[in-house]
């Protein structure tokens, strides 16, 4: 649903900006892993595409608020960083397939890279309410870019931090410490949100331990609700066939083993409908429009 929300508070959190927006309809329907898309630049903007952000937190204040945490990257996030309390913001959401949560209590490791951690706390909450054990592994390039370390320490059974420059926690990457955390926690499942390279690494660790990994991916998006076909990644279906699937509606959360991380940014030759490939579904003709 589309909501014109009012900005309640803005704050800086190390390298990030956080915006809390009154958006009752979205807050109400929210489940961990959902994202929202934000219109940028006001009525006479030169930026016609929305920007996607995970929902960090929802609170019941003012009928329901959502909090976004973001890094300034390009023109849109720069604009967003200039919003002040009482400005209005046009949001669409909640969007996407949320994190699936286990029916029965189990041990979960939550892995966050950079601002990716932001979407893990609502998930941790839900998991703990269901009696799950939660352990955190959070990493980033440097200390100021590790998001939510304090909150993780408060919530998690254990919290392990890594930075590439060693300015906080262990020097290295989340995948360096993940095996030990999984082993110690006797984890049943891993949830991960962060850069693609990290998700790929976390998935590989999961495969090694033979436990499922739920990853939340980030691909360039124009619409966020399934109509533009710009956000696809190669994913292996139940039937073993690779398809280019929309990460906004079929994701952003996928089973890590199903995502062909190494082929992101390409059309794998064996994907359904790949140029020159066999057309596995339908199609008397196999001749492709170049």
């Amino acid at each position: 649903m589309q909501v014109t929300g009012t900005v309640l508070t803005t704050r800086r959190v190390d390298a990030y900006h956080a915006l809390t927006v009154v958006a009752p309809g979205i807050a109400e329907r929210f489940r961990p892993g959902h994202f929202v898309s934000v219109a940028i630049g006001g009525p006479h903007t030169s930026m016609p595409t929305r920007r996607a952000f995970s929902v960090h937190d929802v609170k019941p204040d003012y009928g329901g608020t959502v909090e976004l945490v973001f890094a300034v990257r390009g023109r849109g996030t720069a604009w967003l960083a200039e919003r002040k309390a009482r400005d209005t913001l046009d949001l669409v959401g909640p969007l996407g397939r949320p994190f699936p949560v286990p029916r029965d209590p189990c041990a979960c490791v939550l892995v966050g890279g950079e601002y990716g951690s932001a979407s893990l706390f609502a998930l941790a909450d839900t998991l703990q309410q269901r009696g799950c054990r939660v352990d955190f592994v959070l990493g980033a390039a440097s200390a100021d870019r590790v998001f939510g370390a304090l909150r993780a320490r408060r919530m998690g059974e254990t919290t392990t931090l890594t930075t590439e420059d060693g300015s906080l926690g262990l020097r290295g990457r989340v995948t360096d410490v993940l095996p030990a955390v999984i082993a110690d926690a006797r984890a049943d499942v891993v949830y991960a949100c962060g850069p693609m390279a990290m998700l790929r690494g976390v998935t590989a660790v999961g495969v090694e331990f033979d436990i499922p990994v739920q990853v939340s991916v980030e691909e360039s998006m124009a619409c966020g609700y399934g109509v533009c076909m710009t956000c696809v990644i190669p994913v292996i279906g139940e039937d073993g066939v690779t398809r280019m699937v929309r990460s906004c509606v079929e994701g952003p959360v996928f089973r890590g083993e199903r995502v062909r991380f190494e082929d992101i940014g390409t059309i794998p030759f064996d994907a359904l409908g790949a140029p020159g490939g066999r057309a596995q579904e339908g199609g008397a003709h196999t001749r492709n429009v170049s």
């Binding site: 619409c223 710009t230 003709h285």
Partner: protein, 324 residues
Amino acid sequence: MSVDMRTYLAHVELANPITTAAGCAASGAELSQFFDLARLGAVVTRSITMAPRAGRPTPRMAETPSGMLNAVGLQGPGVEVFLEGELPRLVERGARAVVSIAGGSVAEYTALARRLADAPGVAAIEVNLSCPNVEDLGRVFARDPAASAEVIASVRATMRYDVPVVAKLAPDVADIVAVARACIDGGADALAMINTPLGMSIDVDTMRPALAAGTGGLSGPAIRPLAVRCLWQVHAALPGVPIVGMGGVMTGRDALELILAGACAVSVGTALFHDPYACLRILRELEDLLKERGFERLADAVGLAHRPPGAGPRHRIDLEESSL
């Protein structure tokens, strides 16, 4: 009093002039979560191909000033799956379905027309001519009047006589009127314009093209002046031909601009990415604008900006083709 918003694609009546633009509403199912598709003049489907297509690699989109580039590459399920699932579901939902088709050769367009000829619920066929012709070194059909006419003639001959064939044209040609005329001579019942002109964007940080495919189609408000100009020229040259206008329509005012230039229906593409309700909002705004201006029927506004100027000297239109 409400405005009579009905419009016609050849003999096919649409309840109102607003449709989705080809390739901008996926299967239709996504939008139908937000509103009843039957409220649209028509749903134009993505361009259907014979075989399933995986499309182009990502990144497939980049934002540009008041526009966006896309290189989706006609990702879609292929005509068989379309006929089994997408099309019947659109029909069930009460939507008027205009089916867009895309091919790499005249034979492929013709084969698509043959597969669609007996399908129930095809209100019209829109022929996407912005495809590379594999038999002509990948030269895009829409850039060649003769190749466009050949495709249209073959599709027209194959489709049921009572299903209008709409030729969809691209603006990046030297003479849009020549292509339009060739399509009409080839048997097209109507025209649609404009498809996306080819554009490109380079990321100055990575110093590489922003799209994996390099180039992509430019859409959104940035191209509206090109759309208005193409509509104007073609409506002036072929005043009796129904034209579906599109290109950067975000509001009812934008839709009215295209209608005044000569469009009898208006498709909405990029605006849908910003707002799932864009089509209905634009329809409402358009109706209000027509009402404010005293129109009783949409049809009376079509091409109205071409009328001979009033007394005022401000309005001498001099149609020289140079931009300078």
